[in-house]
Amino acid sequence: MPMIIGVPKETAEGERRVAMEPSVITKLNKLGAEVCVEAGAGAAAFITDDQFKKAKIIDSSKELISGADIIFRVQAPSIDDVDAMKEGSTLIATIQPHNNLELVKKLQEKNITSYAMELIPRISRAQSMDVLSSQAAVAGYKAAIMGSDLSARFFPMLTTAAGTIRPSKVIVIGAGVAGLQAIATAKRLGAMVEAYDVRPETVEQIQSLGAKAIELKISAAGEGGYARELTDDEKTQQQEELASYIAQADVLITTAAIPGRPAPKIIPETTIDVMKSGAVIVDLAAEGGGNCTLTQPGKTITTNNGVIIHAPLNVPSQVAVHASEMYAKNLLNFITPMFNDEGEFTPDFEDEIIAGALLTHAGKITHEPTRELLEGAK
């Protein structure tokens, strides 16, 4: 009996991605698994049921979920959906346990082996499974596109018979995966791009894309390639120095994040006050509360001085086709080593990556921080 992988239609609002892609089905079949896809699961990502022809199309969501040994999802399932799952089956999704404690409990109760993709350790070998990277790349690209679309100005310089259009200045705050992609895209469009990040190694990376690195006097390099939180004093200083740069910006893209914490508030109202009328802020950190104090996640507002603050949620969803493709491939790369040559599903729970992503297993919460949140420190 081959393992059955079920891919339900996403239920979260505004979610257009799907955790499957036609070419991935073929590869899963090769591994020895069978794939079932809910009818219309790919519709929002423009993948028709026809294109999923290598998979079994199942009309009812409940039927699909209850029949599957492994569920592939983009976002965390509803409690109901977990209820419908087989006891002891496997769930792979971006579960965000700290926001979904109840769900985790449910998973534990139902004895479900669940993996939170976003918890995969960011080691070299795991890069091909890293959904944070793949979806951040999508978001970064899209942020630049949204910025150019919202701006009432040209990005590139144009010398025309009706005068010379000066290129827009785009400033990117946070040069992680998303930030770098935003830099690259804005540069492509011909904008003058400057970028800032607290981690000093980003200077070279920013320059390697042909953009200018803004160098302030504060460094916040933390462990494992992530940033640490800044002290209050440092924050104020950072803000002031940055404000003088940001005042020049036509488009400001903010991507700053600190893992497991709310997004740092880097752009206070005072900074926005000095910005140009018609300037656009795309706050990619909206999901974590935003990098601007004025950010209203999910909304687009215009301030009194004419600054447009766009704070989109679930940006990768907007590039649903390719975001789904990359997400599905991440899942494929994650699950591939769990199958042995005979097509049996034998995850190695000792493996650094699997252990890192494992949230619940055999009735236990294996992810320590989540367990602490739910059950208190040991």
Partner: protein, 457 residues
């Protein structure tokens, strides 16, 4: 002593060779002439101790002083633009000296081997031709005589004179010592006349080529006489110059797009002269190496891209070239005309693609004043946007359109494939202007050549 003399000559010969080698690259050229100069001083001083010199030391020194002083003063005084005729003058003097040496030897009527005799006479012949020919060239360029002079059957007359001279030369060579002063004088006079005849019909524009040819002649004459009097320094310096000069003559003729025979003999038919005088009417082609040197040693270069750069997709190359120039300390700016290309911002798109930073890109209003102080303006595939007709010709379809004043800069180089017109299909007087030179070829190819040439400097 003899050993020291010979050794000094040897060193002088080495200095000449390396001096010339250095002179063939713009970077080392200045040191090259110094090397050669040192060799010359060494050779001259040591010659006072030469075993064949028995007397006349004072007169000799006097001659050196007088000749040197006159040359020094005239050479220092002359204007830069008059340099070519001065070269002709000094070259003629060298040819004359070689001929005079031959004359002394032939006058001595010693028995010498046939080889020596042949070379002595041949050296005398070409030295003398170089003397009178160079003098005519000098006179022409200096404006001392009519630019060209022609008469019917000129070529036949010349041929006749030449053959007679040659026959007398043969006679001198093979008559042992039987020839007398009379014959010798006639020989030299005829050679002088032939040099004059050969030069008078050649037009001003071709003069540099002819001077270079006489320079090679003098070199050969010096080399031959060096052999005759057994002086290897003279022999080697002379032959090296003779060979280098021949090569140079060919290169110069090639740079003018004319075979050398054409320069020497074609002017009898048509009015090919005066080409340089008449400023308009012809486009002047230029070589990539030359453009490279002009730009590499310029203070400021402005690049004017146009639709042709887009068609050639030459933007990446243009930027690479720019960086090379910048590394050499040249200020390079891009001047973008508002309607260059075929869509608004066409040039911007391409330059941005190549990575040209915005701060060296200027639009018409910002840069138009600057052309006057620009050493080289490089127009790449632009045409209408630099067409001065827009300022002057009220009938032109582009009259009234502001244009980039590429014609105001000290030198203008235009890269285009051929005689193609621009969008409006009209002629462009800029291409015929005196300060304009054309570098023909596809934009990408031409700029590639420039890059290679700049790198070699």
């Amino acid at each position: 002593m003899d050993f020291i003399v010979d050794g000094s000559y040897f060193i002088a010969a080495i200095l000449f060779i390396f001096g010339l080698k250095r002179m063939s690259s713009p970077v080392t050229a200045r040191r090259g002439i110094v090397w050669a100069g040192v060799g010359m001083v060494l050779a001259t001083i040591i010659t006072y101790f030469h075993k064949d010199i028995h007397h006349n030391y004072v007169w000799m020194s006097l001659a050196i002083l007088i000749g040197g002083a006159i040359a020094w003063v005239t050479a220092k005084r002359v204007k830069m633009t008059d340099m070519p005729q001065m070269i002709a003058l000094y070259n003629g003097m060298g040819g004359g000296a070689a001929a005079a040496i031959a004359a002394v030897i032939l006058m001595q009527e010693k028995e010498i081997s046939i080889t020596l005799q042949v070379l002595a006479v041949f050296g005398a012949l070409i030295g003398t031709i170089a003397l009178s020919g160079s003098m005519i060239a000098f006179a022409k360029l200096q404006g001392l005589m009519w630019k060209t002079y022609r008469f019917p059957n000129q070529q036949w007359v010349n041929l006749f004179v030449f053959l007679v001279t040659l026959i007398i030369g043969f006679y001198i060579t093979f008559s042992g010592t039987a020839y007398g002063m009379g014959i010798l004088s006639i020989f030299f006079i005829l050679a002088l006349i032939f040099g004059v005849l050969m030069t008078i019909p050649i037009g001003g524009a071709d003069m540099p080529v002819v001077i270079s040819l006489y320079n090679a002649f003098t070199g050969l004459a010096v080399g031959f006489e060096g052999y005759v009097i057994g002086n290897p320094a003279m022999m080697i310096a002379g032959i090296v110059v003779g060979s280098a000069g021949t090569m140079l003559t060919q290169l110069m003729a090639k740079a003018m797009n004319r075979p050398i025979t054409n320069v020497l003999f074609s002017n009898f038919g048509d009015g090919g002269d005066g080409k340089i005088e008449a400023a308009t009417g012809s486009m002047k082609e230029i070589d990539a190496n030359d453009v490279a040197v002009m730009m590499a040693f310029a203070e400021k270069v402005i690049i004017v891209p146009g639709y042709g750069m887009a068609v050639a997709q030459a933007q990446h190359k243009v930027w690479e070239m720019t960086k090379l120039l910048q590394e050499r300390g040249v200020t390079v700016k891009f001047a973008i005309h508002p309607v260059a290309g075929r869509m608004p911002g066409h040039m911007n798109v391409l330059l941005a693609e190549a990575g040209v930073p915005y701060d060296i890109i200027y639009d018409l209003d910002e840069i138009n004043e600057e052309f006057e102080t620009t050493d080289v303006t490089l127009v790449i595939g632009a045409n209408d946007v630099v067409n001065p007709a827009a300022r002057t010709d009220t009938n032109s379809p582009i009259y009234g359109m502001p244009i980039l004043n590429a014609d105001a800069s000290k030198n203008t180089i235009v890269i285009k494939r051929g005689k193609g017109t621009g969008f409006t299909g009209i002629e462009n007087q800029l291409f015929f202007a005196e300060k304009t030179n054309m570098l023909y070829g596809d934009g990408a190819t031409a700029v590639s050549e420039l890059i290679t040439a700049i790198k070699e400097l």
